[in-house]
Symmetry: none
Subunit: 233 residues, 2 copies
DNA sequence: GAGACAGACCTGTCTGAACCTGTCTAGCAT
DNA sequence: ATGCTAGACAGGTTCAGACAGGTCTGTCTC
């Protein structure tokens, strides 16, 4: 068999699976085939399959658990990652843009159950490209680590989860709160291109690593007409 | 049945039961179903059930005695009888009253993903006894069964979950959606003793039995100042 | 009425198997 | 050196079944 391009087999496996995920053939939370099944399907060795899965895991697209298998953790718009609630975006065709308001190192400024001290602040807004209407406003706060220094100039691939994954930081547990913000503040409304006083869906999320140390605290405001929470049990 | 999340089966059992305990469907001192019954309900092996119960015991939520069974040892605020998300009520001391608006047999009237045909309708409002302010408005719809006939004259113990439990009906899986209702309608506002136009937290839940048949569909409107959703993972 | 007993039902514990990922080693090909 | 293969082993998860022993209740006996 001829290897037509410089793409390695493991790269190809990762690319094919990533395409299936992004196309929607594999949805958020769906289990991937087992490694043994992927060995059959792609006709490669298990090491190669694992290498491909490792690439997807580093991108934050899948999550693997011993004895169970690998699962899709991609949420389409990549609003959030890992376990927890699914954010469902009804209008799947809408093109979303992202604007980073600021990436700075500063003391904690939000009222959160846990983290204090010096943090990495990442404030982002996602908006409808067609109209410029802001759909989400995320404020992420991460306890400062030296390895975050390069991020002050930009996130890897524009993704915070990818930046964390490439540093070997992954969440082992966490908590999530959801509620209603009765009225959008004037400043936030201006930043999002919305009208003040609108009710918004408010999501707060705290993730911890295996040792229980806080990885990230995120407060998100979401357009209630576009976003809902979904959970299966 | 597809494994919808990245958690193991034993984790899911522990989570579902914990939710039922924390919401008050299972009260302090209540016996859990026997392990054999849980095997039936969740359609898993006894080992898996026992593993899940072990997790709850480790958390101190239940206590298991040889030859007798497992018992709830958690004394929590009893607010709602719903599996899935935790509903947290900040002010635990507030006394809540419940008013049943109607219990009737009628065709399905809500737009829900699944159930149709003849249903048992149960509409309830929970309110602050002190002020009479309505905090929750629940519309439950259950596919009609002959054994529901007596319920038209009143729920057993005023509790829908108790009425179902005594008929051997228990949820094995389900889905839940949460979102924001931007403005309370005039009729609902009047029923709840609130002002029209208020934003509310909107919860919809669909539960199924082990065979996949719909047990219950519930739409709830919740006071966003009093209720939030919480989840650990 | 008191006590003994059987049977139903419960949890505790164990086994063997199937299937899953994590990790390692040795070897082949380019 | 890198990519890949093939295999082995460890350990996590789940299943199906079996057996022991605790608890409860109804029944029989005295």
């Amino acid at each position: 068999m001829r290897q037509a391009s410089i793409e390695s087999k493991s790269d190809r496996i990762a690319r094919v699976l990533e395409a299936e995920i992004r196309m929607g053939a594999l949805r958020d939370g769906d289990p991937l085939s087992s490694e043994a099944a992927l060995v059959e399907r792609f006709n490669v060795s298990r090491s190669t399959v694992r290498k491909g899965l490792g690439l997807l895991a580093a991108k934050g697209l899948i999550l693997t658990r011993v004895g169970i298998g690998s699962f899709v953790t991609y949420r389409g718009t990549q609003i959030d990652s890992q376990a927890g609630w699914s954010l469902s975006l009804p209008d799947g065709d809408a093109r979303l843009g992202m604007r980073i308001l600021r990436i700075v190192r500063a003391p904690m400024d939000l009222c959160a159950p846990g983290p204090e001290g010096e943090m990495l602040h990442v404030d982002r807004i996602r908006f409808l490209e067609a109209t410029g209407l802001g759909l989400t406003f995320e404020r992420a706060r991460l306890p400062w680590r030296g390895s975050f220094e390069p991020l002050l100039d930009g996130l890897e691939g524009g993704s915070l989860s990818q930046s964390l994954a490439s540093r070997g930081i992954s969440a082992a547990s966490g908590e999530e709160w959801a509620g209603v913000l009765p009225a959008l503040s004037t400043e936030d409304a201006q930043a999002m291109g919305r009208t003040p006083g609108e009710p918004m869906l408010r999501l707060r999320r705290l993730t911890r690593d295996a040792g229980g140390a806080v990885i990230e605290y995120v407060e998100s405001l979401l357009d209630p007409g576009q976003f809902g929470l979904h959970m299966e049990f």
